[in-house]
């Protein structure tokens, strides 16, 4: 598989009271067109990842909103897979090109979350779990990941409270070096440990924030990408699914869907975990990043903590993780996150990530999870030689 990345565009992530769902989406769309140096009428299809438009803005039909924004009449679809909506949209774009139906596709992700109360956002996000079995009992998303953290840290006590906090400290270190990041501030282990408890053992600084933002990427067929001088290719795309609820899961100490997705994507790309230069992973909560590095094969199950003992996951470390700042620092506009990850991977492989640039980056991986692990999507990005 080989699909070229022609252009990328991203809004500033954060509390964007100045812009609504449509404006955020448009901003990212226009930026990716400009970066690709193409015009809107060259787009054959659009896919847009979005989760909460219906419940937070009363706006569904976001697929057609994206084509309307560009005054084109191309086929346009909204893709929803909870927090993995962006990566699932990316995969649909890839499949459209691979099928021969489209030569150039625009894939977007957008979320407008700060117009309503935190409680309303909490309720919306819980739609990614199992409403009957979990939501009805008062579970929240931090609650679900707290249940995973408790089970994991009981089975693998080597993952201490301090090492878990390191995930957030490192992501804030990277975020401070990323201009489109929501929280450009470095923090310490104490910041995490002393923060307000959200769902024991997870404090506010173990949790990704509520964020507005949009991201857009232009994909092209291998031939077209070559002709237009694309520097980055997507060479692997894998998706895995699992039960909506944790109670139905085979394990509470791993996210199996991530492993399934990684296996498929690596096989398609013809690579092994050892060849990966860096990864953008789904750190919706600190514990999720530990499970992500294990799912991607950078550590064995139960040994993910080892990568956080010696700064191995910093941008200049052995296996840089979340140079964008991750969901924690960069922000988590749910539908946009998967596309943001793809944009960060593209910037690293283009060599334009400046203060957080990974040296000799050849292969980058993105890992995006929906719900507490009911969906996971992994993509492999490669520098064009």
């Amino acid at each position: 598989m080989n699909v070229g990345v022609l252009g990328i565009g991203i809004t500033k992530f954060g509390e964007r009271w100045d812009q609504g769902l449509r404006e955020l989406l448009l901003d990212a769309q226009v930026k990716s067109l400009k970066d690709a140096n193409i015009t809107a009428d060259e787009i054959d299809a659009l896919y847009t990842g979005n989760m909460g438009g219906g419940s937070l803005s009363g706006q569904l039909h976001v697929g057609a909103m994206a084509s309307e924004n560009l005054n084109i009449n191309a086929p346009a679809v909204r893709v929803e897979g909870a927090c993995a909506s962006g990566s699932l949209a990316l995969r649909q774009g890839i499949l459209a090109i691979e099928s021969g139906e489209a030569d150039i596709v625009q894939v977007n992700g957008v979320e407008k979350m700060t117009d309503v109360s935190t409680e309303q956002v909490t309720t919306m996000l819980m739609g990614a779990g199992d409403e009957e079995l979990e939501g009805f009992n008062g579970l929240t998303f931090p609650g679900l990941y707290a249940l995973l953290a408790k089970a994991y840290m009981t089975k693998y006590p080597a993952l201490t409270r301090d090492l878990l906090a390191e995930v957030s400290v490192k992501n804030h270190f990277h975020g401070a070096r990323n201009p489109y990041c929501q929280f450009r501030k470095e923090i310490t282990i104490d910041t995490v440990k002393n923060a307000t408890m959200v769902a024991d053992p997870l404090t506010l600084f173990d949790c990704s924030p509520i964020t507005d933002g949009a991201a857009s990427i232009i994909l092209a067929s291998e031939e077209k990408a070559k002709a237009l001088g694309s520097k980055v290719s997507i060479v692997g795309s894998g998706v895995g699914t699992d039960s909506l609820s944790l109670a139905r899961r085979q394990t509470l100490t791993a996210i199996p869907a991530g492993k399934i997705a990684a296996k498929k994507a690596y096989a398609q790309a013809g690579i092994t975990a050892e060849q990966v230069s860096f990864a953008e992973v789904h750190d919706c909560f600190t514990i999720a990043e530990i499970m992500a590095v294990e799912a991607l094969g950078f550590a064995k199950e139960g040994e993910g903590y080892k990568l956080y003992e010696n700064k191995d996951t910093y941008f200049d470390g052995r296996i840089p993780i979340n140079t964008s700042g991750g969901l924690k620092a960069c922000g988590h506009p749910v539908g946009a996150t998967g596309i943001k990850q793809a944009i960060e991977a593209t910037m690293q492989l283009r060599g334009t990530a400046k203060d957080r640039q990974v040296k000799n980056a050849e292969i980058g991986v993105t890992h995006n999870v929906g719900g507490s692990g009911a969906t996971a999507a992994v993509h492999v990005f490669k520098k064009v030689k």
Binding site: S117, T118, E119, Q120, T122, T123, M126, D130, E131, E132, L133, E134, G135, F136, N137, G138, L139, T140, P142, G143, A146, L147, L148, K150, A151, T154, T196, M197, V198, A199, D200, P201, S245, L246, A247, R248, L252
Partner: protein, 132 residues
């Protein structure tokens, strides 16, 4: 919206009120929730009643809850393995959080969940407490 609906909850009153579940007639696997297909591929299930005793598999204390649970926050939620073999998610009550532990024996109790909608319909269901 959906949390205000009495019908959504009424449809599930047998498992919410009586802790009823399903057993696969082919392989015997037991489920608390309604389900499309057993892991063995069978679609034939018998109704069964759980005795309401089980052990905590994992638990947490939620300090920031959704809208309808505001007046109960903070509260404890856990995943529980029922003695018959099914696994369920439920609130754990009548205990200090600090005194809960993984592996602890718990038993089902019938409790109020939340009030919803303009008419203030009260939703009930099963929670768990440490075994007496």
């Amino acid at each position: 919206m959906f949390r205000d609906s009495s019908i959504i909850r009424w449809r599930n009153y047998s498992d919410r009120y009586m802790l009823e579940g399903y057993g696969c007639t082919n392989c015997g696997k037991k489920y608390f929730e309604k389900k499309g297909m057993c892991v063995c591929g069978s679609l034939d299930f018998n109704n069964l009643s759980f005795c309401g005793k089980g052990k905590i598999v994992s638990f947490t204390k939620i300090h920031s809850g959704p809208e309808v649970f505001q007046e109960q926050t903070p509260y404890c939620v856990g995943i529980i393995d029922l003695d018959e073999g099914a696994r369920i998610t439920a609130q754990i009550v009548d205990s200090k959080y600090e005194e809960l532990s993984i592996g602890q024996d718990v038993e089902a109790v019938f409790r109020k969940f939340y009030k919803s909608g303009k008419k203030g319909v009260i939703h009930y269901g099963t929670k768990f407490r440490p075994k007496f």
